[in-house]
Subunit: 282 residues, 2 copies
């Protein structure tokens, strides 16, 4: 039934107003062009947008929540609620559930991805959100920690300045919105190539996606990713890997990995997640 409604909705709308999943590398422009936040606003329905801001990753949820509220308010969203969930019990709040049923855009702020997952993972609320996103009824955006949680496997923390090794990355379980990817953010800004490669060596059945600051990997419903913003999206594809050693978790032995395929994509460039291939610019 919802699927039928969705199809009816799609036929009425031009391509670019469809819902999407927006994985943002942190530090997105909040002041000047605000291109990424504008794109979220637009994909959430523009003047009809009913937006939920989830600041739960942050230790200052009130401040960050109000900041985004001000931005989307200025853009002209129809309704904006900050869902300041600080306790798993709040995920059962009837008012929260009611709003999730009508809202068209959910924005996960930055902070600590373990905190965010600790509050939301395996709740009925999260299941409802995932379903509505999958049905194309909600545009979901996450920035920084809010981006990190998108995959099934999640990078919870790690370092830089070392060759790939298992102690360079701490893995945890994410919210599984796009289960097949492992996301890293603030990517080239914080020199995270070696840590993403370490994560992918441990999970070679996934695809690594490194997203720079003020940059967004925008996933359409059909699994096509497009780059929006100032930096790059780096894809680390282990599909053809011919060898990798598997040091124990926490070991500092170098990880070797042969035949990785790496793409650095910039503005407007597109990648097919299912085909694992660049879409040539027409």
């Amino acid at each position: 039934m919802q699927q039928l409604e969705l199809q009816a909705l799609e036929t009425r709308k031009p391509q670019s107003t469809k819902t999407a999943i927006m994985v943002i590398g942190g530090a997105e422009d909040k002041v000047h062009g605000r291109e990424i936040l504008h794109t979220f606003f637009y994909r959430a329905g523009s003047a009809d947008a009913q937006i939920a801001i989830v600041p739960s990753a942050s230790r200052e949820p009130a401040i960050i929540g109000e900041r985004y509220r001000g931005i989307f308010n200025e853009m002209g969203a129809k309704r904006i609620e900050v869902l300041d969930i600080r306790d798993r019990d709040q995920c059962e709040d009837a008012a929260v559930h009611e709003y999730l049923e009508v809202c068209t855009g959910v924005f996960l702020t930055g902070g600590d991805q373990l905190r965010l997952c600790g509050l939301l993972a395996d709740t009925v609320l999260m299941e409802k959100l995932r379903l509505r996103v999958q049905m194309g009824q909600i545009t979901l955006a996450g920035t920084s920690a809010g981006a990190a949680v998108m995959g099934h496997h999640m990078i919870a923390g790690g370092g830089s300045g070392e060759c790939p090794n298992r102690s360079l990355v701490d893995m945890a379980t994410g919210l599984g919105i796009i289960p097949e990817v492992v996301v890293d953010q603030h990517f080239h800004n914080r020199n995270r190539m070696a840590r993403l490669m370490s994560a992918i060596a441990a999970h070679p059945d996934r695809l690594g996606i490194g997203i720079d600051e003020d940059t967004c990997a925008l996933f359409e419903q059909d699994g096509i990713l497009q780059v929006v913003g100032k930096g790059t999206v780096t894809i680390v594809d282990p599909g053809e890997v011919s060898y990798t050693n598997q040091p124990l978790i926490g070991a500092t032995d170098p990880i070797s990995i042969h035949n990785l395929r790496v793409h650095i994509l910039s503005y407007g460039q597109r990648y097919d997640l299912h085909q694992r291939a660049i879409i040539p610019t027409g």
Copy 2:
């Protein structure tokens, strides 16, 4: 004639005592196991080694020259000379030429690669060294700046913490010992993946080689590279690249590059430079 002598020499020696080109990522162990420096000593002829130390990249050539002299002396080299070339005129010094004709190992220290190239590039001395290395008569090692100069195109400097872009790397001309590679050193230690990718985007006919500290890419005469030491050697192969933009030199626009092949090699692993392929471990 020299070639015949070389062949005669080769039949007398087991495989591993052949001369090699050793490209060292800087900060090689000088105190404990000294594995890389021992390998150089061995490949230069062990007790028969006549070693030339070239500290010209350094601003403290006397100190660094004596440090390496002490190390190779302790190992038992037959003869060690520090060729403290501080002026291009010294490259014509008869005593220097005479020693180069008999020596079996040349070691280029760290420092500033532009300084080293400024002193040695396009001199008769350098031409003689290159020839003797190519003939397999000299084992040549370079660490840090001494490694950077190995390719035809040389990374003279650059930064980190940014997505690949042309202003992230300063290119110059190296000594062209292994013309087909672009070398970067202190590689993962200083987060240089984005700068090496920027260099390779500008020179997609070359192969990028990033070498970690206390790690060596040891090139045999037949173009097989083997990893020695604690870290990794990263190979960035643009052979299958399907697209790259070409921002102007110094531009900060992101570089996009599609279908790079990347290998992270660790201890003992081998790569065929001519075939551009990993040699599977037997």
